[in-house]
């Protein structure tokens, strides 16, 4: 439901209240009080993917007084049931509906916004469908699995006027000590910054295991290639060393996208290139160890794993000062979650608007492709293609398993 519809609902309630006799009981929960807005003024939310990150996201939204959390979805029985209990306990009722299939949740017309924290291979399919259904979206990072998905997610959000926030809380939260002096102009023109993040994603060839849990395996795999159940394949652990889906290329871009969303997001924020994409990635080798340098249209170089260089080491221009700029901040209260909810109410763009989040994801994906092909690449942000490079263009996207499309 969009803001217009919420306004209509409020008007309806007001009109109805004046025209008909009051019900015998109107609870303070529904009417609101000094501590909590009335039900009609709360953002009605649902969550999809309530595992490790999703549980944290759910908790933040659930604890907001201006959110009414009504539905959730997870393909794991245990996760789904625990998450429902968590919501029901919070509200002291049994009203939260738990779904196995996200399409049922997205089809509900009473839900204003959803948060998505599934493995990455699901993000685009779910987020685009959420936009089609008129929901605002908070999607965990890394928002995309392929380069093609980013523009499609942006287009869906813009088409339907949706507020769509990416999910890295660290971009603003962790890197302010670097952002502030750079944006104040104290380091002069920034020539380069280095990002250290590993590892690259790997193909998963884990053997079949007996399913030790109740999980809808076909829905877990979704658009990814079919593979047998293995607990490490689908583990939501934050490990990226082969013991979680974050390690494997069918579901994730590995450390390059998982932590890359934070570090590259931070680097592009620090250097104020959040609104652009690299135009070239150069593949280097140093004593047999590969590393990359990305060149931006303004001349900035972002290194990846530059030898003997620490994470987020910045090379400025000694003796130069550049004009100071105001640093963008979260709106509302409550960090990145509060920023999203504030924007759902006001229809402003959130701090981590999907377009900025996609620009970060592009850095990670370009890097993964350069490492995979072991060579330098040129990138045209306008066409979202590698100009004159048919081989690299094959890696802009990948076929999704039926019936899933973006």
């Amino acid at each position: 439901m969009n803001m217009f519809e919420r306004t209509s609902r409020r008007r309806f309630l007001a009109t109805a209240g004046a025209a008909v006799a009051a019900p015998y009981i109107i609870t303070s929960t529904a009417l609101g009080n000094a501590d909590r807005p009335a039900a009609s003024d709360r953002i009605v939310m649902g969550g999809i993917g309530i595992g490790n990150m999703g549980r944290g996201d759910q908790s933040d939204f659930l604890n907001r007084k201006d959110v009414q959390y009504v539905a959730l979805c997870d393909v794991r029985d245990e996760v789904r049931n625990k998450a429902k209990t968590n919501v029901d306990n919070k509200y002291g009722n049994k009203d939260c509906t738990a779904y196995n299939d996200f399409r049922e949740l997205l089809a509900r017309s009473d839900i204003d916004a959803v948060h998505i924290a599934t493995p990455d291979h699901w993000h685009a399919v779910m987020a685009i469908e959420a936009c089609r259904q008129g929901k605002d979206v908070y999607c965990q990072k890394p928002e995309t699995l392929t380069l093609r998905e980013g523009p499609l997610m942006i287009a869906a959000a813009r088409r339907y006027g949706r507020v769509f926030s990416g999910g890295s809380q660290r971009v603003l939260g962790d890197y302010r000590q670097y952002v502030d002096p750079v944006w104040a102009g104290e380091l002069g023109t920034i020539k380069s910054i280095n990002v250290n993040v590993d590892p690259l994603p790997k193909l998963c060839n884990l053997p079949a295991e007996d399913m030790g849990e109740k999980i809808d395996w076909n829905l877990w795999l979704g658009p990814a290639p079919w593979a047998p159940y293995n607990s490490k394949r689908c583990s939501g652990s934050f490990s990226i060393n082969g013991a979680s889906w974050r390690s494997f290329s069918d579901y994730s871009g590995g450390g390059m996208t998982d932590w890359g969303a934070h570090h590259f997001g931070g680097a592009t924020f620090i250097c104020d290139v959040r609104e652009s994409q690299p135009e070239e990635v150069t593949y280097h080798e140093n004593s047999g160890k590969p590393y990359l340098s990305y060149r931006y249209p303004n001349g900035l170089i972002i290194y990846h794993n530059r030898p003997n260089t620490g994470n987020l080491v910045i090379e400025g221009t000694p003796g130069e000062r550049t004009p100071s700029k105001p640093v963008p901040m979260y709106k509302g209260e409550g960090g990145i979650y509060g920023d999203f909810i504030h924007c759902v109410k006001t229809r402003e763009k959130p701090f981590r608007d999907i377009e900025l989040a996609v620009n970060t994801a592009v850095v990670s994906h370009l890097g993964n492709i350069a490492y995979q092909l072991r060579r330098s690449l040129k990138w045209d942000a306008a066409t979202q293609q590698f100009p004159g490079d048919a081989e690299a263009n094959r890696l802009v996207d990948r076929a999704r398993r039926e019936p899933w499309q973006v």
Binding site: R159, A208, R375, A399
Partner: protein, 234 residues
């Protein structure tokens, strides 16, 4: 070493050690500018695809053909499009392969394979933005299987252009159950037309959707589109 790696690939299955396949990975990367090596690599991959290798091994081959496959791989991949265990990974190779033959194989499969696999094939045609598939997709827009009709609509939206938009416009007038996805695809066409400087065509689509018959979500989307068109025209 490549001989050994391909010998191991024939026995490869879920749980196999992947390290012995490293020479194949190397060959994919290193053959970028070595036509002879790449031809040899492709021939070996196709031979594995046509062998009795495991599903996992054939999946592995399809992943490599997605990068190095040429017209020489198309017949072997096309043969797998009708196989429920291999159709997706055959598309994995064909969808991104920049040859007419790959598109032709997908178009032919779109009318031959069962509905479950057809949905995937239509998605691949959309992803390729294969305008030659528009007649096939038009026929499937009214398919009795809603998942096929939906996939055809989304594919037309991905392909874009005036011809796809006209097909969708016509379908929107009579559509019932799948109308929202047809409208979504039509809006995608309008956006692509607008981005391609065809404001007049885009504006016509948006105006056709900014009417009371449509949902509020669609009317607002169409109104945003009209404003974008008129701001460009002025």
């Amino acid at each position: 070493m490549l001989d050994e790696a391909f010998a191991i690939l024939k026995q490869y299955d879920w749980g196999s050690d992947m390290a012995p396949l490293a020479p194949i990975e190397d060959a994919v990367a290193l053959s970028h500018d070595q036509a002879e090596l790449r031809r040899d690599l492709e021939n070996r991959l196709v031979a594995t695809l046509q062998s009795d290798a495991s599903r996992d091994a054939k999946d592995y081959v399809c992943r490599k053909l997605a990068i190095v496959g040429t017209v020489a791989s198309v017949p072997a991949l096309e043969a797998l499009l009708r196989d429920k265990d291999h159709s997706h990974m055959a598309r994995f190779a064909l969808e991104r392969m920049p040859t007419r033959e790959a598109a032709q194989a997908l178009r032919e499969a779109a009318v031959k394979v069962n509905n479950e696999l057809k949905v995937g094939v239509l998605g691949s045609l959309g992803s390729r933005r294969d305008a030659a598939a528009i007649p096939v997709l038009k026929g499937l827009l009214t398919d009795s299987d809603p998942s096929v009709a939906r996939a055809a609509a989304l594919a037309l939206g991905s392909i874009g252009g005036v011809e796809a938009a006209n097909v969708l416009k016509e379908a929107a007038m009579s559509a019932t159950g799948n109308k929202p996805v047809i409208i979504d695809a039509l809006l995608a066409c309008a956006e692509a037309l607008l981005a391609g400087q065809k404001q007049t065509e885009a504006l016509a689509i948006y105006r056709s959707l900014a009417i009371d018959d449509q949902t509020r979500l669609v009317r607002l989307a169409a109104t945003r589109g009209i404003l974008a068109c008129t701001s460009l025209q002025s």
